[in-house]
């Protein structure tokens, strides 16, 4: 399990994440919520050691991350990055690169790697466009390819940085279902989301960030009861109980006053 203890991190002397203690337990989907600039993505990067911790520490199964090399980290935690240049390679090749942390010299992928990549593609439904260039796929198809890559990395923890951005609603729901499935298999999933209702519906735990600090950590219900979402986002957040279950609706604060 990945655990952050009093972690502060940032870029070039500017502290973005301040004194956050948090863990990502196996079998649960932890969603990071918070306004723009509240430090969600920075927290993910610091958890992966992509930016160094200013203060505090990151532990992987009790081992401080600075004692691990990059490959060891990459075998323990994978990231679906938010910023990705157009990949001008075939989908199956991209998925195969999920095996990169396991390569030893001369860096040739083995038959086992190919099998793992193939299975990952079958699972996310990316097999249909295995031979196509990733840059020519639609948003949903691309996401399934990158998810397969994440799966091929075979890590205990998966981090997803705004994975639903640019996806239509069906693909968003598909993605959330898929993440939920991963957690069901005993993995830890941590994701940055901007869609509050989606987060409330699918998260096991929500970590609410405000100005770099952890403002709340708990179940969606507890978060709703706390009223923190309304104060942090400056919106009105309403719960409805309908035939299909509990629904949440966001609306601007002004309208309701």
């Amino acid at each position: 399990m990945i655990e952050l203890k009093n972690l502060s991190a940032g870029y070039g002397g500017k502290t973005v994440v301040k004194d956050v203690s948090l863990c990502f337990p196996a079998g649960q989907v932890t969603v990071l919520l918070g306004p723009n600039g509240s430090g969600k993505s920075t927290l993910l990067k610091a958890s992966l050691g992509l930016i160094p911790a200013g203060k505090g520490q990151v532990f992987y199964d009790g081992i401080p991350i600075e004692r691990m090399n990059r490959r060891q980290v990459a075998k323990a935690a994978a990231l679906l990055a938010q910023n990705r240049p157009e990949a001008e390679i075939e989908a199956e090749r991209l998925v195969l690169h999920g095996r990169f942390p396991y390569l030893s010299y001369p860096r040739q992928y083995t038959e086992t790697d190919r099998q793992i990549a193939k299975q990952a593609m079958e699972r996310t439904g990316a097999s249909a466009y295995a031979g196509q260039l990733v840059s020519r796929l639609s948003g949903g198809q691309k996401q399934s390819v990158y998810l397969a890559m994440l799966l091929a990395q075979q890590t205990q923890t998966v981090f997803l940085d705004e994975p639903t951005a640019f996806l239509d609603i069906r693909h968003q729901l598909e993605l959330m279902g898929w993440v939920k499935q991963l957690a069901g298999e005993g993995r830890a999933a941590a994701m940055v989301l901007h869609d509050l209702p989606l987060a409330m519906e699918y998260a096991d735990r929500i970590a609410l960030m405000e100005a770099g600090r952890l403002a709340f950590l708990g179940t969606p219900e507890a978060l709703y009861e706390s009223g923190k979402l309304e104060s942090v986002f400056g919106i009105r957040f309403t719960r409805f109980v309908g035939e299909a279950g509990v629904h949440y609706v966001c609306s601007p604060k002004e309208e309701t006053q």
């Binding site: 075998k75 910023n83 090749r93 990169f100």
Partner: protein, 337 residues
């Protein structure tokens, strides 16, 4: 040539590499045979078998054509591979060796030499190489001081290049006589190449080409973006610096052989990419072979088209390269449209 629409299978990639290899072989043979005195293939074979014999064909082959052909092949391969590496590392399709200060640094060193030691043109290769390395070193330092991002690298390259170019202009303003020595370097030519110069550059070019090919896999991971590459366990900053240095040595060594040769590093990778996609191993190999073929062919044309006059090879590269490049751009646009 078919624009890459769907997948490029390993067999297709191997075919592209093979085709480029044959193209290079053809360009090399033409370059060895054609010139002021035309050698037949039979004479060529005879010259090779007889070694450094005192026949006319033997002397032409060993002392004129072979060094020149090898220089063209090495220069083309080095510039094209340097271009592939830079474009991938900087995620910028317009990146070429000049963007990290290679040409300006080398030019500055040559201009200084032309002013200070007007007779000593023999030291040009070394000086230009050192100048190129110095400029790239400054660019890397500047980028490291400002956060080592891709954009600071490109901006640093533009700044340092401008500074060196201004220094060159200043030198030539005060010492117009030095212009002659510098002008030869600026247009790029293989006219006074010797075997000694070729062997001097062959080792660094050969080693760095091999190193670039060996780094195809990390380079391909780097092309997926910094965050993804780092999350896959790649030391992004270290790998990027090593690759930039490789690209700089390749381009610096090429400039030391031929002077400043325009846009081989831009056009050849762009062309080859249409055939191989971004899969780095075939892209690097095909670019090396294709780059060698292109420069050797252009040099052959440069010295035969208006014989006995010889055009600077850089001029032929531009006149031949630009239309081909534009044709290909229009063609790929039509395919997309």
């Amino acid at each position: 040539m078919k624009t890459l629409q769907t997948s490029s299978t390993p067999r297709r990639e191997a075919a592209v590499v093979l085709a480029m290899g044959l193209l290079m072989l053809l360009a090399a043979v033409l370059s060895l045979c054609l010139g002021a005195v035309r050698l037949t293939p039979a004479q060529l074979v005879q010259a090779i078998i007889q070694g450094r014999s005192n026949t006319l064909a033997g002397r032409i082959f060993w002392f004129v054509r072979l060094p020149r052909t090898l220089a063209a092949l090495l220069t083309g391969a080095a510039l094209a591979v340097s271009g592939v590496v830079l474009q991938t590392v900087l995620h910028n399709p317009l990146a070429a060796p000049n963007i990290i200060g290679v040409n300006a640094g080398a030019g500055f060193a040559v201009a200084v030499a032309a002013v200070c030691f007007p007779g000593a043109s023999g030291s040009t290769p070394w000086l230009s190489f050192l100048g190129a390395m110095g400029a790239v070193g400054l660019v890397l330092l500047l980028s490291r001081l400002t956060g080592a991002s891709k954009i600071t690298l490109v901006l640093g390259g533009v700044m340092i290049s401008s500074l060196f170019n201004a220094a060159i202009d200043t030198l030539l303003t005060f010492q117009p006589d030095a212009l002659t020595g510098y002008a030869d370097f600026r247009v790029g030519s293989f006219a006074d190449i010797t075997m000694a110069r070729v062997t001097g550059a062959a080792l660094p070019i050969g080693l760095t080409l091999a190193a670039a090919v060996l780094m195809a896999s990390p380079l391909e991971i780097l092309s997926l973006g910094d965050e993804t590459a780092a999350s896959l366990g790649l030391n992004v900053r270290a790998v990027r610096t090593v690759l930039l240095l490789l690209a700089a040595v390749l381009a610096g060594a090429a400039v030391s052989l031929a002077g400043i040769i325009g846009f081989v590093g831009l056009i050849v990778p762009h062309f080859v990419r249409q055939l191989t996609g971004e899969k780095l191993l075939p892209l690097l190999l095909s670019s090396a072979l294709g780059g060698g073929a292109f420069v050797a062919a252009c040099d052959t044309l440069a010295r035969t088209a208006f014989a006995p006059y010889e055009l600077p090879v850089g001029v032929v590269l531009s006149f031949l390269g630009v239309p081909v490049f534009l044709w290909q751009l229009l063609r790929s646009r039509r395919h997309r449209g």
